[in-house]
């Protein structure tokens, strides 16, 4: 097997067995980046020198027996909204075009402690606002399955980099589907953990009450291994929760006998592409054959998720993005007169259209006289959505459905109609509103040759049930990948 075809866990095992060195693996993936970046543009920044240096350091520690974990020595890509000490971190925005953090995010530190080699920072929708990675100020990322299509977003660079073998796994962040949807569009596995499972310290916030960091990877085994490394209680993040159930690899068991699986009818209505629907239902059938108890149910409130999400996320974003003012770091406009003109010009020039749209939307819903009607009401609906899921999880272990209504759209089709783009988030955002874990994995290929995603949703902190179900399905489904790789 060539190095690039290995999963993260396979590579780590090969390194451990001295079949491959960390440097060889790093050089191999850097060569792949050199070859493919022009075509896919997964990265904003590739840190070749840093990666090679880290590779040698990590190898020493592996040889010394200091690093023994399941991911030691494996090169990883990091979404560009996670701070990396000494390495440019832009959020794919012009306003952070020169921002080099003085500290690394906790999730990245956890990976480094486990012996990861950081390859660079992946492209994304600007400040994670978008579903296609086209709102990046540094150019669009292309879907490795078909370069005329988007990779999804906002973690499109991370998903595409995994699919294009420009890394062995990647970190993304998910506020309304930003890990799961690009994972679905690029045919890889992505997990949005329970809110509070992974520290947000060092993640440049979009919607603080919804943001969560998670893995994008080649298979469910890698997903479990990465989760074990990044799930730690962090005192620097007040919303981080202490949990003992972080032994995710123990859930890599091929068994769903008696597992109660619910299929929300509301997720299979109008707007869902028939090929996506068929593939998802077929996956449910597979699980049923494996012994799961599968039944349909009514989740309710699904139609309220999108307005609720865009009210809350935009409100938080409008405040979170205030700190980008040109004073302390980042881009500052030239030729301003006085403080307020500097703010105005810097932010007008530094932010892209989608970011400005959400800042305006968020400022509006928080403004005096509208706060109760929009923001407070949205918080109440959010609580109701959580309640609907609580009721569902009283009956089911796992809920399954599609990740997105369609497979990856063509480049340039989405941005002209933002409402349509927002509607594409319908199956993913409720999960963020309710703080639940959600896993996306490939379950088929449509007639255009694009991958279809299956979404598994669990109750809070029930990632292990998702992993067990996903692992069982993956075993039945068999190896999944692009034709050129098979």
């Amino acid at each position: 097997m060539s190095i690039l075809d290995m999963t993260a866990c396979q590579l780590a095992a090969a390194i451990k067995n001295k079949e491959v060195t960390v440097l060889e693996a790093t050089k191999a993936v850097l060569a792949q980046i050199h070859e493919k970046e022009e075509k896919y543009h997964c990265y904003v920044t590739v840190d070749e020198e840093g990666a090679l240096a880290q590779a040698q350091e990590v190898q020493k520690k592996i040889d010394a027996g200091v690093l023994t974990g399941a991911l030691a020595g494996v090169p990883v890509a990091i979404k560009d909204n996670m701070c990396t000490q000494g390495l440019l971190t832009t959020c794919s925005s012009k306003i952070l075009n020169n921002f080099v953090p003085t500290f690394s995010s906790e999730a990245v530190l956890n990976l480094q402690r486990a012996g990861a080699v950081i390859l660079g920072k992946t492209n994304m929708d600007e400040f994670a606002m978008g579903s296609t990675t086209e709102t990046s100020a540094y150019g669009e990322t292309k879907n490795p399955w078909n370069t005329e299509h988007v990779p999804g977003g906002s973690s499109g660079g991370s998903a595409a980099a995994v699919a294009a073998k420009e890394c062995f796994y990647a970190l993304g962040s998910d506020t309304g589907g930003s890990i799961r949807q690009p994972a679905s569009f690029c045919g890889v596995v992505g997990l949005k953990p329970t809110y509070g499972r992974v520290s947000r310290y060092g993640l440049i916030a979009y919607g603080s009450s919804l943001d969560q960091i998670g893995p994008l990877c080649k298979d469910v085994t890698d997903c479990a291994a990465i989760m074990e490394v990044i799930s730690t209680h962090d005192k620097k993040d007040s919303t981080s929760v202490f949990r003992e159930d972080t032994d995710f690899t123990s859930a890599l068991v091929e068994d769903v006998k008696g597992m109660r699986i619910g299929i929300p009818r509301d997720y299979f209505g109008e707007g869902l592409d028939s090929q996506v629907r068929d593939a998802v239902l077929k996956a449910a059938e597979v699980l049923k054959e494996k012994g799961a108890v599968v039944e349909e149910f009514d989740l309710s409130l699904v139609e309220y998720a999108i307005p609720t999400y865009y009210t809350i996320a935009a409100a938080e974003a409008s405040s979170n993005l205030e700190r980008f003012d040109g004073i302390k770091y980042g881009y500052r406009a030239e030729g301003y007169e006085g403080l307020h003109d500097m703010y105005k010009k810097t932010r007008s020039q530094g932010f892209g259209a989608e970011v400005k749209r959400r800042i305006m939307l968020g400022s509006f819903v928080l403004s005096s006289g509208y706060y109760d009607a929009y923001y407070l009401k949205a918080l109440r609906v959010k609580a109701l959505i959580k309640k609907a899921f609580d009721e569902a999880f009283a009956k089911y272990d796992v809920i399954i459905g599609p990740v997105a209504p369609t497979t990856a759209p063509k480049l340039g089709e989405s941005l002209s109609d933002p409402i349509k783009m927002y509607l594409g988030d319908i199956y993913t955002i409720s999960v963020n509103l309710a703080g639940l874990p959600g896993l996306s994995m490939p379950c088929g290929i449509d007639s255009k040759g694009l991958p279809i995603g299956l979404q598994l949703i669990g109750d809070c902190f029930n990632e292990k049930k998702l992993i067990q179900t996903a692992y069982t399905y993956e075993k039945s489904r068999g190896v999944f990948g692009r034709k050129e790789d098979r």
Binding site: D325, Y371, Y375
Partner: protein
């Protein structure tokens, strides 16, 4: 007859809490570091940083709330107040609007007109901003974030005060309560206590409130009193001239004795307050409140009553000593070490107050220890030093907290108790001052004072004046 006006005043008081570290990060709150040395990613608003609440802030805020008879909000939250300014690193301040930590309190004040309650609308916790320094030379502004994130509580009163006298009494009451709690040193001049005055006037007997203004930049009790008088007159003049008071924020210039408008209500910003999603709601159970309650100190009123019963010292002394928690602590600890209360009180009331005044210091700044004061008192009790030497030693002790026993030993200041040596000196003084001796013998009692002084001078101050007196009288 001219119309009679009543002044209606409410206060917003900011108090800087005496925590060692900032409200949402581990940086030091120490005053006076080099610019931007007490900073980290959190208090400079770096992307990706997150706030974590300092528990001590919560404890102080609850302690102040309990001491001012507030209802404690047992499910409370922090909110973001959004506004752009360079001293505000995130461009939002973390504060409390919707669920402040304390509500519906009251404190009793006493003025010449008698006792009265002043209502407290709420107390909330928030972070301080950084400081802007304008560099005229380079024509630019610099930001120092050392103050950014220093914990504050804002105590908002009801509009219950009617005069400057009541305002000062209320502020004194707050200051005393908070100092007793150790929650802040409450120094107006240094800005650890800041008061904004909301003032309106109305005709006596009217029920409706008039339009109010808010006055800022009040750095002393005197400035507050002057600002209240000035603003009352300004508003009366406006109304008498048939004009309207405009709701606005004004800045007091104490040197000129007048205020000027900073911004009107029309310019008021929409702060777009909303709950800070980075901080989880704070749930305070009864056990936590009981714990804080159990730790509440004896406050001034209780202390005064106890002193009256326990110590034989004048009421006036009690008032002054209990007027500072620090001074009261020194008093009590010194007495506990065995010194006579009256003597301890005398040292505090006379020499200590004099030196504080001369050095422009507050009682909170007293540095000498109760142990050293007790030693000094026992040295004088034992007549090991005389009173003028004791004062001299006390000055050094006040300044450097020296051990008086060691100091007296080292400097050789002990009273000479050798009667033979003293008698010899007295004889010499008598021989050298025939005029005074004659005056005394002729009935001029005062003349003996001169002779005592001369003897003391010859003894370099190290003699017991009583003994000199005795010897003089004997030899004359």
């Amino acid at each position: 007859m001219a119309k009679q006006y009543e002044t209606v005043i409410g206060l917003e008081v900011h108090v800087e809490l005496a925590t060692k570290t900032k409200i949402f990060c581990g940086c030091s709150t120490a005053f006076g570091g080099e610019p931007n040395t007490h900073t980290c990613p959190v208090c400079t608003g770096m992307p990706g940083s997150l706030p974590v609440l300092n528990k001590q802030v919560l404890e102080y805020a609850v302690a102040v709330g309990l001491a001012t008879n507030c209802t404690i909000t047992q499910y409370c939250k922090f909110d973001r107040k959004n506004y752009f300014y360079p001293d505000n690193p995130q461009n939002y301040q973390i504060s409390q609007l919707y669920l402040p930590i304390c509500r519906n309190g009251k404190v009793e004040i006493e003025t010449e007109k008698g006792k009265k309650y002043i209502g407290i609308h709420e107390i909330h916790m928030e972070e301080d901003a950084g400081k802007l320094i304008h560099d005229e030379w380079d024509d630019c502004s610099l930001v120092d974030f050392n103050r950014s994130g220093v914990p504050l509580i804002e105590i908002v009163s009801e509009p219950d005060m009617r005069s400057a006298e009541e305002v000062i009494a209320y502020l004194e009451k707050l200051r005393m309560t908070i100092q007793y709690l150790g929650a802040s040193d409450c120094k107006l001049q240094e800005g650890s206590m800041r008061a904004d005055v909301n003032l309106s006037i109305r005709e006596v007997g009217a029920e409706e409130f008039g339009t109010r203004t808010e006055m800022k930049n009040l750095n002393s009790f005197k400035a507050i009193a002057r600002a209240i008088e000035g603003e009352r007159e300004r508003q009366i003049d406006l109304l008498e001239a048939g004009e309207k008071v405009i709701q606005e924020t004004r800045r007091w210039d104490d040197n000129k004795g007048e205020s000027y408008a900073m911004r009107s209500k029309e310019d008021a910003q929409d702060y777009r307050y909303f709950p800070d999603p980075d901080l989880v709601p704070i749930v305070l159970d009864d056990a936590f409140l009981d714990q804080i309650r159990a730790k509440q100190p004896e406050f001034r009123e209780e202390k005064m009553l106890r002193y009256k019963e326990e110590f034989d010292i004048p009421e006036y002394d009690i008032q002054i000593i209990t007027g500072s928690k620090h001074m009261a602590d020194i008093f009590e600890e010194t007495v506990a070490l065995g010194s006579q209360p009256k003597k301890v009180s005398n040292w505090l009331m006379v020499e200590t107050l004099r030196l504080l005044k001369e050095n422009n210091m507050d009682p909170e700044d007293i540095r000498f220890s109760p142990e050293n004061l007790a030693k000094l008192i026992s040295l004088t009790d034992a007549k090991a030093i005389n009173s003028s030497v004791a004062k001299e030693v006390f000055e050094v002790m006040f300044d450097q907290n020296v051990d008086p026993e060691k100091y007296v030993e080292e400097k050789g200041l002990k009273t000479v108790n050798d009667e033979g040596a003293l008698r010899k000196t007295v004889e010499e003084v008598i021989a050298n001052n025939p005029q005074s001796v004659e005056d005394y013998r002729n009935g001029k009692e005062k003349a003996i004072g001169f002779l005592v002084g001369q003897t003391m001078k010859a003894m370099k101050g190290k003699a017991d004046p009583g003994m000199i007196n005795k010897l003089l009288k004997e030899l004359l």
